[in-house]
């Protein structure tokens, strides 16, 4: 990452409430091109809401979100400008169960990128190679393991050729033995220069991949630091407590 490049994602005093409960309080965060950010924090701290705001799945109430220069307002036009730039991977995979793996991957590019069936297919197969499951192209999601499904979901997002990838606890719904195959794909993706924000508790992954660690609690960003400093010398009490709890085992 270079400091002088225009930021890829910029959040300025972003706030959001669900009823009386304020999930995001004055969040300010800047992510440069190619930068990899890992967001962690206790459940209910607003991590997921934060990244869901970045591609407009949740609407923020105040503050400014700018993605690759485009301001994300509540209107449809800005959503249509921002969404194609942002790929998203969900905790529950959210594959389309009635479509084959291949059709899951080609639907978006065909309908929104104007690709022909053949072009979309070639692109899909290329990304399936990248996540190492080209042989599953003709199957339906329910016949794949969780790890395979999540890799398909990553490939589906990549097929849209986004500039940014958001990961919302991508390994939390997986059986332990499948976590690594998904993390490996993510590490490989990080190596390719993709701008990434990952909400995850996989601290080993964070240490290996993150340029920046963000710790959230009660809807606030409590601490931001490079991984070395974050893990070895966390500044705030809340962050220390959290790390102690999740690094114990």
């Amino acid at each position: 990452m270079s400091d002088d490049a225009a930021p890829m994602i910029e959040l300025l005093t972003v706030s959001k409430s669900f009823g009386d409960f304020q999930v995001l309080k004055d969040i300010t965060l800047t992510v440069g091109p190619g930068e990899r950010v890992v967001v962690c924090g206790p459940s209910g701290s607003g991590k997921s809401t934060l990244i869901r705001c970045i591609n407009g799945l949740e609407r923020h109430e105040s503050g400014t979100i700018r993605v690759d220069g485009d301001v994300l307002a509540g209107d449809r036009a800005s959503l249509e400008r921002v969404r194609p730039k942002v790929g998203m991977v969900f905790q529950q995979f959210n594959l389309f169960p009635h479509l084959t793996v291949l059709d899951n991957l080609t639907l978006g590019p065909r309908r929104t990128r104007g690709l022909s069936q053949a072009e979309a297919r070639d692109r899909a197969m290329a990304y399936l190679e990248r996540v190492q499951i080209p042989e599953q192209a003709g199957k339906y999601p329910r016949h794949l393991s969780g790890g395979q499904q999540q890799r398909v979901a990553i490939a589906r997002a990549l097929c849209m050729e986004p500039k940014i990838m958001l990961f919302d606890e991508p390994t939390s719904a997986l059986d332990p033995e499948m976590i690594n195959e998904v993390l490996e794909v993510m590490v490989q993706l990080a190596g390719s220069g993709m701008t990434m924000i990952c909400v995850t508790h996989e601290m080993g992954f964070a240490r290996r991949v993150a340029d920046m660690m963000v710790f959230m609690d009660f809807g606030e960003i409590v601490e931001t630091a490079p991984p070395a400093r974050f893990f070895d010398a966390p500044e705030t009490r809340r962050c220390q407590d959290f790390l102690q709890k999740i690094l114990q085992h």
Binding site: G56, H98, T112, Y140, A157
Partner: protein, 252 residues
């Protein structure tokens, strides 16, 4: 299939035993005896109603499914006015008996609009209108049963509302509501008999007319019952086949 065969055999047995036993002088199967010329003509006349029963029901169900979907969608909107439209339509239309609607469309509407309407279209519109409220509720329930994550995934690959519905939500929702849609089709086939009151030459009307000339209501209405039974069992089998096929598509 075997179930249908069993029911048909049972029906035949009931007819055979009742007609051959002591009360035989109550039965006069000659009116529909296919080996006599007049019996064959009568039978032809009765079965001739099948064409309009099927055509009317199919036309009505096609219209009502399309209308039902269009009415269901505003019911799922965040906008209050749109939801209000959905609720009002469903509550109002659902409250009118089908027979009343048929009479209103055929006799009332021309007076209001100044345009006369054929018996067929009056029947089709009245049946479709009445059914559309139920279809709308079925679609709404089906669409609501789809996980929120499916919408989010569709948005995240930039699909717009129409594409999200067309390629992601509806294909899944329709699989789930297929049994209910099949139900409505069966219901429609039966309710089409009500259109006989405005003179539609469908199964029931034909039977009524023949009863007036032949004075054999028992035999003729028994044939009528049998006609509906065969028709609806065939439709049920078709719907089940479709369900299995769609299931097979996903579980391949």
């Amino acid at each position: 299939m075997t179930a249908i065969r069993r029911i048909v055999v049972a029906m035949a047995l009931v007819v055979a035993t009742t007609s051959l036993t002591g009360c035989s002088d109550n039965w006069g199967w000659y009116v529909v005896n296919p080996s006599t010329k007049s019996g064959m003509a009568n039978l032809r006349f009765l079965i001739g109603g099948l064409y309009y029963t099927v055509l009317l029901s199919v036309t009505a169900i096609v219209i009502s499914v399309a209308a039902g979907l269009l009415i269901a969608l505003p019911g799922l909107a965040a906008n209050r006015t749109l939801r209000g439209f959905n609720r009002t339509y469903v509550e109002l239309v659902r409250a009118v008996p089908i027979l009343v609607l048929i009479l209103w469309v055929y006799y009332g509407m021309p007076q209001m609009t100044g345009l006369s309407i054929s018996v067929f279209w009056a029947g089709a519109i009245a049946l479709a209108l009445s059914d559309s409220a139920f279809e709308a509720e079925i679609f709404r329930a089906g669409i609501q049963s789809i996980d929120k994550g499916q919408y989010e995934a569709a948005h995240s690959v930039s699909l717009n509302y129409v594409d999200t519905m067309r390629f992601v939500i509806l294909p899944q929702a329709i699989r789930r509501i297929l049994p209910a849609l099949g139900n409505q089709l069966v219901y429609m086939l039966k309710m089409s008999s009500l259109v006989s009151v405005i003179g539609m030459q469908e199964l029931t009307r034909k039977a009524n007319e023949l009863v007036v000339t032949e004075y054999r209501p028992l035999e003729i209405y028994s044939i009528l019952v049998l006609e509906y039974l065969v028709l609806i069992l065939a439709v049920s089998a078709g719907v089940r086949w479709l369900e299995r096929k769609m299931q097979a598509d996903v579980s391949r």
